[in-house]
Symmetry: C2
Subunit: 225 residues, 2 copies
DNA sequence: AACAAAACCTGATAATTATCATATTTTTTT
DNA sequence: AAAAAAATATGATAATTATCAGGTTTTGTT
């Protein structure tokens, strides 16, 4: 079992504010878990009772709308914490977390996090900053959802994925999502997402190879109307 | 000039966590301002350099989309703080704040808030909880925007206004918004908002008197498809 | 009270997006 | 390797929403 005080992942999230003795304590009570692609990490409405620190892999946070469709609200990546929102509000999860690819996560029990939050002002300030940043991003997503076309939102999503996940040696996006995922990110029907991706291909903005997508003209994608 | 330590408004926000001596200090450096309906409190992109505590009135937080339309992201009411998000992230405002009706606000300089945040763990935890709650609301708005029809969103907005602002002696909503505001809350064209409000009238879900709206059948509004 | 400006309203039409149907391809399972 | 299941694709059509154009009503100002 790896040790928190030697783990570099914490540099990417609020846990970086903790001192060595706190990290040693966390190491003692944390559990490490491997999660398979497609596996549910937690579901909307359940009490998570802790926080996950994502060591490897990506998961999607989504919510089931009353029309029966899932809306993906956020992608959580290596280095992110998962479940802090519910923990801080002390309530059941508002979103469902599902692994997009194989993951490795550490689970830190609620009690430990609460202890650090209420004794370490650097930690709680870091958490506060993270939450403020997330809120800004969420506000911007609201504006996009409300004001931009499906085509624009899908183009933006592709640009976002390139900027945040990068590309492999062959230029393909370093993350593979299904067309259904794309639809659930931009909030449209699966067929519509498929159609627009096909259009982007025809227009030479992207090329694809199965689920893999390569962005060919990012400037044009950014300018999509 | 009123005194923070005697002001009941702070019970409604994170300032309730402050002790008397801190409140006395705040009293000394805060400024009280009257803001007229329609007046801009701060604009997207400017550094606010402090936090507003809303003593009276309502303001809308909106963002200009690239298509030239404003999207209203949130209504800020009596008792709420305004500007905390930008302050915590230490960056320019992401949203524009405009008074929906006449307001009274107190402005507390950034330095003072930061001081309290970094020394008073109860205060920073309260702020963290508020931010977590806001993030949850924002996530839910994203889902609604992405998955519900304009008609559903408008119905939901009316229900929300009734629940959060109540009604006057004659049963009219205790907040008056323009049709343009409604359009900018649900993210649609002004004409579309007007049309749907007219439909709701025809269907007997609401009645109106100028800008004043009375909700007649809230159960049916909740069930709008 | 008269005027101007802003807000509201409605019809006609166009554009966008969803839905349904069906076929093909890819992936997973046996 | 074959079969089954899931994902992708595309056409036809319907539903939703935006846009433009022209009104009327309300509000604010002089």
């Amino acid at each position: 079992m790896s040790k928190c005080e030697q783990c570099i992942i914490r540099q990417f999230n609020a846990l970086k504010a903790l001192q060595k003795d706190d990290l040693v304590r966390l190491s003692g009570c944390k559990t490490t878990r491997t999660i398979k692609k497609g596996e549910v990490i937690f579901e909307e409405g359940v009490h998570v009772n802790g926080v996950f620190c994502v060591k490897e892999g990506v998961c999607k946070l989504s919510k089931l709308s009353s029309n029966g469709k899932d809306q993906i609200v956020k992608l959580v990546v290596r280095g992110d914490l998962l479940g802090q929102r519910s923990l801080i509000s002390d309530e059941a999860a508002n979103l469902t977390a599902v692994a997009v690819n194989d993951m490795q996560v550490c689970f830190i029990p609620k009690h430990e996090i609460i202890h650090d939050l209420s004794t370490n002002i650097n930690f709680s300030m870091d958490m506060l900053k993270d939450m403020a940043d997330e809120l800004k991003l969420a506000d911007n997503v609201i504006v996009d959802m409300a004001q931009k076309s499906v085509r624009q939102r899908l183009a933006e999503t592709l640009v976002y994925l390139k900027n945040n996940f990068g590309e492999d040696a062959n230029g393909f996006l370093n993350i593979m999502l299904t067309r259904d995922d794309y639809a659930n990110i931009v909030g449209t029907a699966t067929e519509s997402a498929i159609r627009i991706i096909s259009q982007f291909k025809k227009e030479g903005l992207i090329t694809t190879e199965g689920k893999k997508i390569k962005i060919e003209k990012i400037e044009d994608l950014i300018r999509v109307e």
